[in-house]
């Protein structure tokens, strides 16, 4: 039986459902909130409520959006002819931080994993094909490049290969690219694993 009053126990239970939060941490956070000012604690509750009621998925790319379209799809300066395919909305953030990509995105909602029962129809892959093969919006160029930026994991690779194969059939005019695989800057060669180092060698570039 719980030693806490039911509302406290309920808070601990809810916090414990968050990823990476165990029972002890949930308890610590609950007591932190109990000690915090009413204003601070309710600000958190309001933020959660607002995000749940106002944030949905972009109708074009399935990124998080507070309207029908996300900020990137509504930005006229972004190149609509280049689409970067990612697994999750959270993958957009690190790519945006590079300031190297000026196109738009397409969020799949996961990666293919036949043994876990995640098949192409469970992801937004058909929507991608429709986007690539469909008529461009008025005054816009058709899509000319799809950048596959799924994670460099086994499931991410499987997803990229599957999409590349399908796009080659459905849209042969579109260039399909994959993020290069290589060594993390600042790492020692000595500690590099063979797969990563092998790909870094295969993808080496001439220095001019």
């Amino acid at each position: 039986m719980s030693t806490f009053a039911p509302p406290v126990q309920r808070l601990i239970t809810e916090l414990g459902k968050l990823p990476g939060i165990g029972g002890r941490t949930a308890q610590r956070l609950a007591f932190h909130l109990l000690r915090a000012s009413e204003e601070d604690a309710l600000a958190l509750a309001d933020a959660i409520r607002e995000v749940k009621s106002r944030i949905g998925l972009c109708e074009v790319c399935f990124n998080l959006a507070d309207g029908p379209r996300c900020r990137i799809c509504s930005d006229e300066r972004r190149d609509a002819a280049v689409v970067c395919v990612v697994e999750e909305p959270s993958d957009i953030i690190p790519i945006e931080r590079t300031h190297e990509f000026h196109g738009r995105y397409h969020v799949l909602g996961g990666a293919l994993s036949p043994i876990d029962g995640v098949d192409p129809e469970d992801l937004r892959i058909a929507e991608l094909y429709r986007r690539v093969t469909g008529e461009p919006e008025e005054g816009r160029d058709p899509i000319r490049e799809v950048v596959l930026a799924t994670n460099p994991t086994t499931t991410g690779e499987a997803t990229a290969l599957h999409i590349a194969e399908q796009l080659r059939e459905k849209a042969p005019q579109v260039t399909v690219t994959r993020l290069a695989s290589g060594l993390p800057v600042g790492a020692d060669l000595e500690y590099a694993d063979e797969l990563t180092l092998g790909r870094a060698l295969a993808g080496r570039r001439a220095l001019s």
């Binding site: 043994i115 994991t153 086994t154 690779e157 990229a160 399909v176 063979e194 797969l195």
Partner: protein
């Protein structure tokens, strides 16, 4: 070797994201069967494990043993990365299904070096030539896996009455091929499918026989029913994708 640690060869069957930056691995080892292990910090870009803990890696690992189910990976050296099988959708899919079949059929820590070497061989073949990803070759692997687990289907004579002629069906419940008189709980197995099963058992994995699509479907069903009746395991069906002459290529612009 101290009793708290273990150095062993292992093949990564599965790698699951866990917590902030960790991975939980399902490993298959020759002497300790299936082993669960956690690799702390494995998802950080600067992790010393790098890509080594991805599925299909054949490794030499050091495990710190804990009393519970989950050991801790303290080091991992690559014996085979199988980089080429990762470059094609069909070989990647065949490797995933091979590892999944091993994970399902061999869940315990019972040692089975034969299973380990069969899986290592399958991954090496898939890495060497995509021809080994064709359905017939994948079925030959599954059949050999059943044999390694002691679930060999009877193929020489009727599994019900011993009759060696008029073999026309297959019954997972009976444990193999059955004759026309014993067909009640069986499904029809063509001569071609029967021949395929016999040849697949008799030949090395690298020389898996071929058969027509219908025969392969029957062979797949025979293998699936054997796994269900005798190992109580459901094997995922093979992927039936349209095949291309070559794998997809990823072009670099400019």
């Amino acid at each position: 070797m101290s009793r708290r640690s273990l150095r062993t060869e292992a093949i990564v069957l599965r790698s699951i994201r866990y917590g902030e930056a960790d991975r939980i691995l399902h490993l298959y080892t020759p002497e300790h069967g299936r082993v669960g292990a956690i690799a702390k910090g494995a998802r950080r870009t600067r992790s010393r494990f790098g890509a080594r803990l991805e599925p299909f890696f054949h490794l030499s690992v050091n495990l710190h043993l804990s009393r519970g189910d989950l050991h801790t990976v303290t080091s991992a050296d690559t014996l085979a990365a199988h980089g080429r099988l990762r470059e094609r959708a069909d070989t990647l899919d065949a490797a995933a299904r091979a590892c999944d079949a091993v994970a399902r059929l061999f869940e315990t820590d019972d040692p089975s070096p034969a299973v380990f070497h069969l899986l290592a061989n399958e991954l090496r073949l898939l890495d060497g030539d995509p021809v080994h990803a064709r359905p017939a070759a994948q079925l030959a692997f599954r059949l050999k896996l059943l044999v390694a687990g002691g679930f060999t289907p009877q193929l020489a004579s009727c599994a019900s009455c011993g009759e060696s002629d008029h073999l026309s069906g297959f019954s997972g419940a009976a444990g193999g091929v059955v004759c026309t008189a014993c067909e009640a709980s069986a499904f029809p197995l063509s001569e071609e499918a029967h021949g395929f099963l016999v040849a697949a058992l008799g030949r090395p994995l690298a020389e898996a026989p071929d058969a027509g699509d219908r025969a392969l479907r029957q062979a797949e069903r025979a293998i699936a029913e054997t796994a269900e009746h005798h190992a109580h395991v459901h094997l995922r069906p093979l992927a039936r994708v349209r095949r291309h002459q070559s794998g997809p290529t990823i072009r670099v612009p400019g």
